[in-house]
């Protein structure tokens, strides 16, 4: 067993000796975290643009609708000709455009049903959905106005009151109602906006532990390429000891790197108690072990360093995407099901329980169990499939 530890020591010393690689290894998660923090973490108000194709130019009601839209502070209104709007939708340059048909005002003036058209790619995107709801709200107001006016006109028919006076009075009363609504909505803030540190740190930690896969796979393949693997196999070192040594080295490297990132969270953002910090290190240890075991499997099937790197990068990216690092896949979708096979699903869940919810290790027993099982099974599979060279032991 001592030989396995010597292998581990050599690898870890090599990691610590290569100052540039170590600096990148430590700086990259910090920089990535900082980018995510500033990109997504700030308090931000919605500012959107409503793209309008107005084919009812000069129409009384289209003008009224557009005036109302332009009065909305958080909305810019940009007018486009139909051909340009269609092309931009086709090219996905725009995701949602509001079309006002040429007979919009004419129909409304005649008391007929008129229609606005929302053309969108897919679901119109987040901005498109918000713009649509703002336009829909203004259309609702116009609807309301028409219904009230039509009812009042009906009641007052034959009273001799001029139509223009009915319209003006109706609008004034509705404006008063909107200013002092009978049913109003009160917004209450519950705590501050989501803490970006707690929101993003689990994902960034998981992502960088997962990079251990690439390093582990590359390390074994590189030994094969250099010929040191063959030389080691003529010493008393067994393949089991070699595997265990490499596995321990990779796990240690993931642990060291992550411990520094977590320590940063502990010192700078003060998001941990000493207990939750140590709990996160335990999760990191088990997760790094599972990731390293996957790296060993890749090393046992890849024939060149390039093959190993690409396989590892693919698996890492797929796991990061499916495991809820950046977004949570909706339940009952294929992505959700696939996400069950991603290590990051369990690591993210465990880290979030600790960091965002203040849980304990007892709360993440299932996640730790799954990750530990992957580590053990991965090591066994990789040992069974690994060959020093084709036809070798």
């Amino acid at each position: 067993m001592i030989r396995a530890f010597i292998i581990t020591l050599r690898e870890v010393q090599g990691y610590l000796r290569d100052k540039a690689a170590m600096a990148f290894g430590l700086l990259l998660p910090i920089v990535t975290f900082a980018l995510m923090y500033f990109a997504f973490g700030g308090e931000s108000l919605f500012n959107g643009t409503a793209y309008i194709v107005n084919e009812d130019e000069g129409g009384e009601y289209s003008t009224l609708l557009l005036e109302k839209l332009e009065e909305i502070d958080i909305l810019e209104v940009e007018y486009l000709p139909r051909s340009e709007a269609d092309k931009k939708l086709d090219d996905s340059d725009l995701l949602m455009v509001v079309y006002i048909p040429s007979d919009f005002s004419e129909k409304l003036a005649a008391g007929e049903h008129a229609q606005l058209v929302f053309k969108q790619r897919g679901n119109g995107g987040q901005e498109g959905q918000i713009v649509a709801s703002l336009v829909r709200a203004e259309a609702e107001e116009m609807n309301q106005e028409f219904q009230v006016k039509s009812q009042v006109s009906g009641i007052l028919a034959g009273s001799g009151i001029p139509e223009s006076q009915i319209i003006t009075t109706t609008r004034t009363l509705l404006a008063l109602e909107r200013a002092n609504p009978t049913v109003s909505v009160r917004e209450e803030a519950v705590g501050s906006s989501p803490d970006p540190v707690r929101q993003f740190l689990p994902g960034v930690v998981s992502m960088f532990v997962l990079f251990a896969i690439t390093l582990t796979a590359a390390s074994l393949i590189e030994e094969r390429r250099l010929g040191t693997l063959e030389r080691l196999m003529t010493t008393r070192l067994s393949i089991g000891q070699l595997f265990f040594g490499k596995f321990l080295a990779s796990t240690s490297r993931g642990l060291i790197q992550t411990a520094i990132l977590l320590a940063l969270g502990y010192i700078v953002f003060q998001i941990f108690s000493p207990v939750s910090f140590l709990s996160c290190l335990v999760i990191t240890l088990v997760f790094a072990a599972a990731a390293s075991a996957l790296g060993m499997i890749i090393a046992s099937i890849a024939k060149t360093p390039d093959q190993a790197s690409w396989i590892a990068v693919f698996i890492t990216m797929a796991m990061v995407m499916l495991g809820g690092t950046f977004f949570t896949p909706a339940q009952d979708t294929i992505f959700y099901t696939l996400g069950r096979f991603s290590l990051t699903t369990y690591s993210n869940s465990a880290f979030r329980t600790m960091i965002a919810e203040g849980g304990s290790l007892g709360d993440v027993g299932t996640e730790l169990g799954i990750l530990a099982a992957v580590a053990v099974v991965g090591l066994i599979i990789s040992r069974l499939t690994f060959r020093v060279m084709p036809g070798g032991r």
Binding site: G14, L226, G227, T228, R231, L232, M233, T234, S238, V388
Partner: protein
């Protein structure tokens, strides 16, 4: 009669349809330098890998110091030192660190490993550069470290696979003298090379392989006398006579 330290019996090894080694048998006496020569693709490296327990033979067995590589590979490995054709060294480590690391892998404790590392580096004329990173070494120095690593643990049988490729005459001469010194101390050596004059100078007996088979095995003098006057014929003449002049890739 000399003790047969290594006995290879009917060794076969194929990779898919290609028969790399096709039923070779030979022995190496204790204290002998045995040359294994052959053109590229003859099966030399595959043979050495089987003897060194890295590859498992499809058929046949090898007995080293009384132990079978099939039944007791670990005991065989305890007797072996291997200097591979590649510079199988960790370039980010110093010569000393490489030596100590591989010495620990052969089972030496820390103090023994350091002592042997120092003594073998001295033997190879590398004492002053012991703490230097291997990546900064010249080709000749790397070759000497490569050989020095094979000597840790005082193996009884040494495999040297083209140990003098691509180095200057001084380093080559240092390696020759080291190998001759090891023979004088009774070490058994299997040597492969493409330099015929080297084999002629160092080897007590030579086996010439081609197409996965041994096509001749004898002392250099006897091999040369097969095609003419051994004083005037060179080993290269013998080699080309036996293996032909067509190019091998």
């Amino acid at each position: 009669m000399a003790e047969q330290f290594l006995i290879a019996k009917e060794l076969h090894k194929s990779f898919n349809e290609h028969k790399a080694v096709n039923g070779i048998s030979f022995h190496i006496d204790k204290g002998e330098i045995f040359g294994l020569l052959g053109p590229n693709g003859a099966g030399k490296t595959t043979t050495i890998r089987m003897l060194a327990t890295v590859l498992e033979p499809d058929q046949g067995d090898v007995i080293v110091g009384g132990f079978s590589i099939k039944n007791n590979a670990e005991a065989v490995r305890n007797l072996l030192g291997v200097c591979p054709q590649e510079l199988a060294l960790y370039e980010d480590m110093s010569a000393m660190e490489n030596m100590v690391f591989f010495a620990r892998m052969t089972g030496l404790n820390s103090n023994e490993a350091k002592a042997q590392a120092m003594s073998h580096l001295e033997l190879m004329g590398l004492t002053e550069r012991a703490r230097g990173k291997v990546s900064k070494f010249s080709g000749g120095m790397k070759r000497r470290v490569n050989l020095a690593v094979a000597l840790v643990g005082h193996p009884e049988l040494l495999f040297l696979d083209e140990p003098t490729v691509g180095i200057d005459p001084q380093s080559r001469n240092n390696i020759y003298e080291t190998i001759e010194g090891l023979r004088d101390k009774g070490m058994t050596i299997l040597y492969t090379t493409h330099y015929m004059e080297e084999a002629d100078r160092l080897c007590d007996r030579i086996a010439i392989m081609d197409g996965g088979q041994i096509i001749a095995i004898d002392t250099p003098r006897q091999l040369k006398s097969r095609i003419g006057d051994s004083e005037h014929v060179t080993l290269e003449d013998v080699f080309l006579n036996l293996t032909g002049r067509s190019l091998r890739d």
